[in-house]
C-alpha cells in the first residue's frame, strides 16, 4: 500500500462561523481555555464595503501540515518531527517550550500551553485518524466545511475535490507546501 498523505480541503463558502470546530478541538485535545491557545480557529474577515452594502467571509484554519515545515528546522531539541501521513508533531518529552517554532510558523498555528509547559498544535487529531476516525473539527462541522482524507489515494474525497475544483493554499510563495487546501 502506498504511503498516506493526509490533507484537509476547506470550502469556506459553507462556513457560518459557529465555532463548533474550535470547541470540538479544545475538548478532544484538551487545549486550555481562556488564553490565545487554539489548535484551530475561524477568522472573521473584516466587513467589506460600507452600510448597507456589506459582505463578510469566515476563514477556518489550523496547522497546514507543510511538506517543508519551517517549524521543524528551527527546533533546537528535535521535538518537532514529521510522522506517517505527513503530520507534523511535537514530542512533549523533548519540547522545552522555547517558542522558536512559534515564531517560525508563518501560519501562527502553534501555541504555548502554559499548563504543560510545551508547544502544542493541530495534528489532524492523530489519535482519531490512527484508529480510522476523522479529525474532530471535520466530523462536528454543521455544514461540513472541511473534508479530510489521503491525497495519495486518487479516489479519496479530498483528491476528487481538488481534481474537480479550483483551489489555493496559504502563502504559497514561502515554499512551505501546505496540505490545507481552500476551494475557490
Amino acid at each position: 500500500m502506498k504511503k498516506q498523505r493526509f490533507a484537509i480541503v476547506l470550502d469556506t463558502r459553507r462556513c457560518i462561523d459557529c465555532k463548533a470546530c474550535t470547541v470540538a478541538c479544545k475538548v478532544e485535545n484538551d487545549v486550555p481555555v481562556g488564553g490565545e491557545t487554539y489548535r484551530n480557529w475561524v477568522t472573521e474577515e473584516p466587513v467589506r464595503g460600507t452600510y448597507p452594502n456589506l459582505g463578510q467571509s469566515f476563514t477556518p484554519s489550523q496547522c497546514n501540515q507543510c511538506e517543508n515545515p519551517p517549524c521543524n528546522s528551527v527546533c533546537p531539541t528535535s521535538a518537532t518531527g514529521i510522522t506517517s501521513g505527513g503530520i507534523v508533531t511535537v514530542n512533549p518529552d523533548k519540547c522545552i517550550g522555547c517558542k522558536y517554532c512559534m515564531l517560525a510558523c508563518p501560519y501562527d498555528a502553534r501555541f504555548y500551553d502554559s499548563e504543560k509547559g510545551i508547544i502544542d498544535k493541530c495534528t489532524f487529531c492523530i489519535q482519531r485518524t490512527l484508529v480510522g476516525g476523522i479529525p474532530a473539527c471535520v466530523e462536528t462541522c454543521p455544514t461540513k466545511v472541511r473534508t479530510f482524507g489521503d491525497l495519495n489515494d486518487p479516489n479519496s474525497e479530498v483528491s476528487i475535490l481538488l481534481a474537480k475544483n479550483k483551489h489555493r493554499v496559504l502563502k504559497p510563495e514561502l515554499g512551505t507546501k501546505p496540505f490545507l487546501f481552500y476551494l475557490i
Binding site: R13, R14, I16, D17, C18, K19, A20, T22, V23, A24, K26, V27, E28, N29, D30, P32, V33, G34, G35, V47, G49, T50, Y51, P52, L54, G55, Q56, S57, F58, A79, T80, G81, I82, T83, S84, I87, T89, V90, N91, P92, D93, K94, S114, E115, K116, T123, I126, Q127, L130, V131, A136, E139, T140, C141, P142, T143, K144
Partner: protein
C-alpha cells in the same frame, strides 16, 4: 497572568476532588501517542483505559441533536455527533461540544441549598435532600391552605424530557398557573400560521429553490436541519433573500440582504402579496380547491402597493416587485420562512398571518420545497389520575389574550396580575430550570414579583439569577447523567430521541423524576400514587405498542421511519381549521373582534436621540443558560452594544468604550462595538450577560442584561411579549 494560573489550578483541584482525576490520565495517554510518533516516525496506538461509547441526545438547546458520548474510565471525554441522527445531519455545534463542561463545571450546583441570608444576598447553607424537600412541601401546603392551590405557580423549562414530570406535579398539586417559554418566544408565530393552516408547518429548506427569511437568523439561531440545509445550494439555483436590521452571519451567507426598518416587515409581505395577486401570478387552481377567503384578500391587498411599502420598510419598490416576481416564479419550491424567534411587535400574530397568506397564494402548501405539515412518531402517553380539588380558581392570566394557551399562559400578563394580586394572590413559585429573571423582559418587575412571594424553590443545574433569588435550590443531574423518557421530535423527518446516563450523577444531584417523586411523597398519597413508577417502566410503556423504537435507540441512538419528507398527505383531506380549508380570511378572528385579514398599522418611530433595542441569537449561546460555560465563554466573554459607525461618530463615541444604556424600565453598562453591521437607528446586544448571580463566576460583572432593558409590551392575540419596541438612550459610562 498569576490570576489565570490560579484559576486553572483551582479548576484542576475541583476535578481532583470530584472523582474525576482521570482527566489527567487522558492527557497522559495522548502524550504517549505523540512521543512514539515524533521519535520514530512510527505509529503506535495508545492505551487509554476502559472506554465506552454511549448514545444519547444533546441537551444544550431546543434541537436535541444525537450524540455519542466517549467515556474513558468513567469520565466523559468528548461528545461526538451521532451520524445516524438524520435531523441534525450528523453534526454537533459549539454548544453541543461544550456540553462536557456542563458536567465538569466548578460552578454547578452540587447539594440542596437553603437560603441563609436575605433573598438574593447569596448566603446559603448546605442541606440534606430530606430537609430541603420537607421545607418545600411544608411551604407548598401552607400557601395552598392560605390562598388555594392556585397560589403556587409552576414555571418550567422545556426539552430536558423530564419537564413532563414537573408539569404533572403542577397538575396533581392542583395549580392551573403553569407557564413555559412560548410567550417569550414564538407563540405569536404559531398562532398566526395555525390560524391559517390549522397547524404550524415546517419549511422544506433542503428542497426549496427560493427562500426569504425575515429575522430568522439561521446561521446563528441554529435550528436543525434548516441551518444546515440553507447552505446546501442546489446546483446554484438556490436563492436566499434575508431581511434583518442587522448584518448577521445569515446576511453574510445570503444572496441579498436588506436592512429592513424594524416593525415594518408586514408592509414588505403585504406588498409582495399585492404584486403576486394583481399580476395574476398566484396559484389559481390551488387557491380554488384548498382555501377560503381569496375573494376578500383581493380588495384588501389593493392599497398595499410596493410604492406604499417602500416608504414604510425602506426597501425599494423595484426590489419588492422583483423579489415578488422571482418568488412566484420559483413557486411552489419557494418559501417565505415562518421563522422561529421571539415576536417583533405588538401585532406580531398579524405579521405571521401575512407571511402565512403569502405562502398560500403561491401554492407551496404540502409540496416539495414548500411549507409542509409536520409528522410525529407516536409514543404511548403516561396516564395518571390527577386529584380533584374543588376550590381551585381558573388561570390567573385568563382573558389576557384572545388565544391564550391553557398550559403556557402569558408570562408577562401572569406577572402583572401577580403584582396586582388580582383576581387572587399567587405567593409561591416552583421553578424547573427556567431562568425567569434573565429571560422575561423587564427584570425589575420580575424581581418585584419574586419579592412578594412567600416561597420560591428552583430546580436547576447552575446558580442562575433565578436560583440566586430562591429560598431553596435543588440540584438536578445534568442531561449527561440521566436516563430520560423518550421524546418524539416532530418535523419533516420525525425522530425519537434517546438520552441515557453516560456517567452516574455527580455530587448529590438527582434526576427531576426522583425529585418529583420524593416531593410527591411529602404532599400526600394521592399525588405520590401518580408518580409510582420507575423510569424504565415509563420508557417501556412509551414503546409498548412499538418495541422496535427502543431496539433502534439502543443500537443506533435514534429511531426514525423514513429519511425523506412525505408530501401531499393532506391533499383532499380536511385541515384542522374551522372550514377544513386554508383560511386566508379568518372568520374565527372576526368572532373575537380581530382583523380577519392582516391590516398594517404603523408603529411608534424611534424618538430623537434614542435607538431601538434589538434582540437576536448567537450560535455560541442558548438564552440565559450557557454564557458561563468555560468553552463558550472563551468564544465571547462578554456582550457588547452594537452601534452603527455613523451613529457612533455623530455622538463622538468610540469602539471599545464603556457606555450606559437606559430604557424606560432599566439600564445597563457594557462595552461599545462600533460596526457597519447594524442600522443607524438600532442597537443590539447578545442575550445572557449582565447576571446578578455570583454563582456564575466567569460572567459575573461582565456585560449587560437585555431583560433589564426590554419593556414588557403585550401582543394581545397570543399573549406574547413584543421584543423590538424598546427605545434606549446611550451615554458614555
Amino acid at each position: 497572568m498569576a490570576g489565570l494560573i490560579n484559576k486553572k489550578l483551582s479548576r484542576r483541584r475541583f476535578l481532583g476532588t470530584s472523582g474525576c482525576a482521570l482527566a489527567v490520565a487522558t492527557v497522559g495517554s495522548q502524550a504517549t501517542v505523540l512521543k512514539a510518533l515524533a521519535s520514530s516516525g512510527e505509529v503506535t496506538t495508545s492505551t487509554v483505559g476502559k472506554t465506552k461509547d454511549v448514545f444519547t441526545a444533546c441537551g444544550m438547546c431546543v434541537n436535541k441533536c444525537g450524540v455519542i458520548a466517549r467515556v474513558r474510565d468513567g469520565r466523559i471525554h468528548k461528545l461526538d455527533p451521532n451520524p445516524e441522527y438524520i435531523k441534525s445531519r450528523g453534526m454537533l455545534c459549539a454548544r453541543g461540544n461544550a456540553g462536557v463542561k456542563v458536567v465538569y463545571d466548578p460552578d454547578r450546583l452540587k447539594f440542596p441549598l437553603i437560603r441563609a441570608g436575605k433573598r438574593g444576598e447569596g448566603k446559603w447553607r448546605r442541606a440534606s435532600w430530606d430537609e430541603a424537600l420537607d421545607l418545600v412541601a411544608k411551604n407548598m401546603n401552607e400557601i395552598a391552605e392560605k390562598y388555594t392551590r392556585a397560589g403556587v405557580m409552576f414555571a418550567s423549562t422545556e426539552g430536558t424530557f423530564q419537564e413532563h414530570f414537573f408539569l404533572q406535579m403542577a397538575e396533581c398539586f392542583g395549580s392551573p398557573n403553569t407557564v413555559r417559554h412560548p410567550t417569550l418566544c414564538l407563540s405569536s408565530n404559531i398562532q398566526g400560521f395555525s390560524a391559517t393552516y390549522g397547524t404550524f408547518p415546517t419549511p422544506d429548506v433542503l428542497n426549496a429553490d427560493y427562500i426569504i427569511m425575515a429575522g430568522a437568523n439561521r446561521s446563528e439561531a441554529l435550528i436543525t436541519p434548516d441551518s444546515i440545509d440553507q447552505l446546501k445550494g442546489d446546483g446554484g439555483r438556490r436563492k436566499l433573500v434575508y431581511l434583518d436590521p442587522r448584518f448577521t452571519k445569515t446576511a453574510a451567507k445570503a444572496d441579498e440582504w436588506f436592512p429592513i426598518k424594524p416593525g415594518t416587515d408586514m408592509a414588505f409581505v403585504l406588498a409582495m402579496i399585492n404584486v403576486i395577486v394583481s399580476e395574476g401570478r398566484y396559484a389559481k387552481t390551488f387557491i380554488e380547491e384548498m382555501t377560503v377567503g381569496f375573494e376578500q384578500l383581493v380588495p384588501h391587498i389593493k392599497p398595499y402597493t410596493p410604492e406604499w411599502a417602500a416608504k414604510e420598510c425602506e426597501i425599494s419598490a423595484q426590489d419588492i416587485r422583483r423579489i415578488a416576481r422571482e418568488f412566484a416564479k420559483a413557486a411552489p419550491k419557494a418559501v417565505f420562512y415562518p421563522g422561529r424567534r421571539s415576536s417583533f411587535a405588538t401585532d406580531d400574530v398579524q405579521l405571521r398571518r401575512a407571511m402565512a397568506i403569502l405562502n398560500v397564494v403561491v401554492g407551496n402548501w404540502d409540496t416539495e420545497g414548500g411549507l409542509v405539515p409536520n409528522s410525529r412518531i407516536k409514543l404511548q402517553k403516561h396516564d395518571y389520575l390527577a386529584p380533584w380539588y374543588d376550590d381551585v380558581p381558573e388561570r390567573l392570566d385568563k382573558g389576557s389574550a384572545a388565544f391564550l394557551s391553557e398550559k403556557d399562559g402569558s408570562w408577562t400578563a401572569l406577572r402583572d396580575r401577580i403584582l396586582e394580586g388580582k383576581p387572587y394572590p399567587v405567593k409561591g413559585m416552583m421553578i424547573y430550570k427556567q431562568n425567569v429573571v434573565m429571560s422575561v423582559p423587564n427584570r425589575t418587575k420580575t424581581l418585584k414579583m419574586m419579592d412578594q412571594m412567600d416561597f420560591i424553590c428552583t430546580i436547576d443545574i447552575a446558580m442562575s439569577d433565578t436560583a440566586w433569588y430562591s429560598d431553596v435550590v435543588l440540584p438536578e443531574a445534568t442531561y449527561l447523567e440521566r436516563q430520560d423518557p423518550l421524546e418524539s421530535i416532530g418535523g419533516l423527518v420525525p425522530v425519537v430521541a434517546f438520552r441515557q446516563p453516560c456517567i452516574s450523577p455527580m455530587f448529590e444531584s438527582k434526576p427531576n423524576l426522583w425529585i418529583m417523586q420524593n416531593l410527591a411523597k411529602r404532599l400526600g398519597s394521592e399525588i405520590a400514587e401518580t408518580f409510582d413508577f420507575t423510569i424504565d417502566e415509563h420508557i417501556h410503556h412509551q414503546v409498548s405498542k412499538n418495541p422496535k423504537i427502543l431496539q433502534d435507540l439502543k443500537t443506533k441512538g435514534v429511531h426514525y421511519m423514513k429519511v425523506e419528507p412525505s408530501y401531499g398527505l393532506t391533499k383532499g383531506k380536511r385541515l384542522r381549521t374551522k372550514t377544513g380549508k386554508i383560511e386566508i380570511y379568518s372568520a374565527n378572528y372576526v368572532k373575537k373582534g380581530l382583523d380577519p385579514l392582516p391590516v398594517y398599522n404603523r408603529h411608534e418611530e424611534v424618538p430623537a436621540n434614542k435607538f431601538r433595542l434589538l434582540v437576536g441569537r448567537s450560535a455560541y449561546f442558548t438564552h440565559g443558560t450557557t454564557a458561563n460555560n468555560a468553552y463558550l465563554h472563551d468564544l465571547m466573554p462578554e456582550n457588547t452594544l452594537w452601534l452603527n459607525t455613523q451613529s457612533a461618530s455623530k455622538m463622538g463615541l468610540r469602539d471599545g468604550q464603556l457606555v450606559k444604556v437606559k430604557s424606560n424600565v432599566g439600564e445597563g453598562t457594557l462595552k461599545l462595538e462600533v460596526t457597519d453591521k447594524i442600522r443607524p437607528d438600532c442597537v443590539y446586544m447578545a442575550h445572557g450577560f449582565g447576571v446578578i448571580s455570583k454563582g456564575q463566576s466567569l460572567i459575573y460583572g461582565r456585560g449587560a442584561c437585555d431583560a433589564a432593558l426590554i419593556e414588557d409590551k403585550l401582543e394581545p392575540i397570543s399573549g406574547n411579549v413584543a421584543m423590538h419596541q424598546t427605545f434606549v438612550e446611550i451615554s458614555p459610562a
